[in-house]
Symmetry: C2
Subunit: 227 residues, 2 copies
């Protein structure tokens, strides 16, 4: 049946063969539908049949473009991730003061993390499906990179000789804190109030760091230990 209905290719302006255009179109359709279903029902509860039927193709097409369900998810993951990273980065433009950058970046992240698509695909299913290692690799090139940048700028304000590992650690901590906070914000009865509380809490932590910076307190290599 679907054979009788000629598919409408995506109106690619550029050159390239007609066939390539059709191909890209169906591939994009698969990723589109998969993103929607993964976001709505989660990875495990979404069947390939549902995806290919939604994209009006068959499993043959899916397995022609992707090596399997996980590869398709990875494609969706990358897109969602890069979209989020772009939005955060955009909000950062123009801000010069590192502390302002941190504030603005936090707000942007809290916005992003409140969308079901990002939360479900990147935060919830991402680590479980890709495995933590692959997940981290992906993150390191996009949203997490933004966090690292902000943390770097912020901590550079105090002119310590802060090694890269420590910086990564700080970034990890903030990223984890914000992800967890985002989850609770998104599922809260009053998300806006919850978001304000999160901003307040993290802002307080930042103010604490800022205070130490101004006092010229050195970064500890470990926790105070009097044993």
């Amino acid at each position: 049946m679907s054979k009788l209905v000629p598919k409408v290719p995506v109106p690619t302006v550029s050159g390239g063969s007609r066939r390539a255009s059709y191909s890209a179109s169906t591939k994009r359709a698969l990723v589109d539908v998969a993103e929607r279903l993964f976001a709505e029902k989660g990875y495990a509860a979404t069947s390939l049949d549902a995806i290919v039927s939604g994209a009006r193709v068959t499993k043959g097409a899916l397995y022609h473009h992707f090596s399997g369900k996980q590869a398709l998810f990875e494609s969706v993951f990358e897109r969602v991730e890069q979209e989020a990273a772009k939005r955060i980065q955009k909000s950062l433009r123009g801000e010069k003061d590192p502390w302002r950058k941190a504030t603005v970046g936090l707000r942007a992240f809290l916005d992003v993390v409140q969308e079901t698509t990002y939360r479900r695909i990147v935060i919830q299913d991402g680590p479980a499906v890709l495995g933590y290692e692959r997940y981290r690799e992906q993150e390191e090139r996009s949203t997490f990179a933004n966090i690292v940048e902000i943390v770097r700028a912020t901590l550079d304000a105090g002119s310590w000789d802060l090694d890269e590992d420590m910086l990564q650690t700080f970034a990890r901590i903030f990223f984890g804190a914000m992800s967890s906070a985002g989850e609770s914000v998104a599922t809260a009865a009053d998300p806006e109030a919850a978001a304000r509380r999160v901003e307040g809490a993290i802002g307080f932590l930042l103010a604490g760091v800022q205070s130490l910076v101004e006092q010229g307190v050195a970064m500890p290599s470990t926790l105070g230990d009097d044993a």
Copy 2:
């Protein structure tokens, strides 16, 4: 075959019928095996056949004791969770100073989170399998409760009128930070060094908060906003 080999019941000292003893024994065997396999290969990659074969029973037995795979997981989850909570709570005994409590509690949590069983079952698979809501409900009664307690004691040091919501927010943030940090510690090339860095970083944040407390800085209701 297994019918010919009489099962050895767990030597319950207490009363209760012989049959109940046998029953409890097989149930415990199921949870034991499930915990091992879930921790080793993850929830999705562990089949019920593998579990029942490991426990030397059949699916009939499993479905007699549990309503399904998820219910079995929940049973495992609870046990692992409570075990972890107990260990953290134990490490807290004797500590009186809230800042010391925070330090000790952090160390205990970092220890716990480095074990594959807790990490895989509670942190990785937990939210995805149970759903975030159920996951939060479970956590709220055990490990997370400890975090809340520590945060409460710490923030009470500065005598603000800190409302409960804000406290929960702080606890969520710290819990997320520590979970994420724990994951990176466990997968690091040098876990001990990574753990020290995490302790240093979070200790620094705590020091910042402490500094603000000593300065008598008030909790902000939101981030500084000059717009």
